[in-house]
Amino acid sequence: MATKSKGGPKYKKMTMSPKEYQSFAKTMEPPRSILGNCLKAFVFGGGICVFGQCIQELFVHLMGMTEEAASNPTVATLILISVILTSLGVYDKIAQWAGAGSAVPVTGFANSMCSAALEHRSEGLVLGVGANMFKLAGSVIVFGTVAAFFVGIAHLILGTGGQ
């Protein structure tokens, strides 16, 4: 039993086309400071690298390692710090400010693996942690390997690689 309201509809339905609406919606987005974000990323990402350099110097000068030998424990230390900060729930808060600055260095890679492992722990060690740990980092490894393959081929053709 439908009762009709008298006369035609009071208000006509929206007439904007999807294209028109999408460009209108774009104008309503709050502005994002590309320059500001780049600066923050540069400062924070650079800061991580400077910090890494300091750790390496410590290994070289305090533990008598060569520069080459010191690089592995340096990376491990950075990974450890990143994992601890992720586990304490701090890393994502830093990242909201730092943006790409905290995503690009090795600490970002460690964060992506640690956060996925933590998140999926509830689904078990095999199907949860094991299967999901590389959920975000996996594509970095895949495309990193693919890129390395093509760079290798280019070296071979140009005769610039190897001995």
Binding site: S5, K13, T15, M16, S115
Partner: protein, 337 residues
Amino acid sequence: MLRGKQTWWFEKRPVIIGEATVVGPDEGDGPLAADFDLVHPELDMQQKTWEKAERLLLEQASEFALQNARVERDQIQFYVGGDLMNQIISSSFAARTLGAPYLGVFGACSTSMESLALASLIVNSGSGSFVLAGTCSHNCTVEKQFRYPTEYGAQKPPTAQNTVTGAGAVIVSDKGAGPVVECATIGKVIDLGITDPFNMGAAMAPAAVDTIQAHFNDTGRSPKDYDLIVTGDLAAVGHPIAKKLLLQDGVPINETVFTDCGLMIYDLEQQKVQAGGSGCGCSAVVTYGHLLKRLKKGELKRILIVATGALLSPLSYQQGESIPCIAHAVAISSGKE
């Protein structure tokens, strides 16, 4: 009874005899903290998984709603609920605890008003005297399912919204005292081609506008018939868009107070929530916690809640689909005239 094209008119005037809301820590830091029945200080709520925490929210909200309505658990004849999880597990598992005949519904963040509309319809048709409607969301379950692991350091754009950790439940009855559900307008799925899942306010705004206009066309009412018209979770980006669209179409929305639950739940200046709140819990806790109290106090006489939902899944947006959206409107009056 159907009025116009898509509006149910509840002539038997179903009454909300009891309501309750339970929220998480961020909502407890927000401006509406005093209106909630329980504020959890921790996100995990001492549960082993985020999913268990979300379910706990809904179970507690249902339990408190029963207490507030002075209704026994076995008096509940039907439970209508839904949430954002895959296969709406939070609601179904809460229904297991509740032990009442259950209808699971999904309308993304519009589930609050979808379930309230259906509960009112059941009561209005004489098919039930005590019907529970409830919904919930948890920030971390949603992050995990729709976005990234909760601790992953991805920068969110300013158009993103923060999913509310909270649950709201109401008991609708054919007798008793309380706010009256007058009518409900069921929305259509509207999609104007927005594809950015970090800008759901803009995606959902046209759905809200469509439902609001349909509501006025069906009922013959205008904005000035309401003391407050509130959208669900359009937040700082979507809400101004909806307002502009309404004015463009000649709806005199300025005749009333037009606001948004996603803007009310947090202090946008102090809390880091980007554009505001979202999630099933957003419109549920603001409406059932804050707005029903204002109706009861007599500060408001009649309000229209337009809960908005983005009906996307991680699969659909990864496959490049745009975001289909919906909005359901429910008119609630203080029942005191």
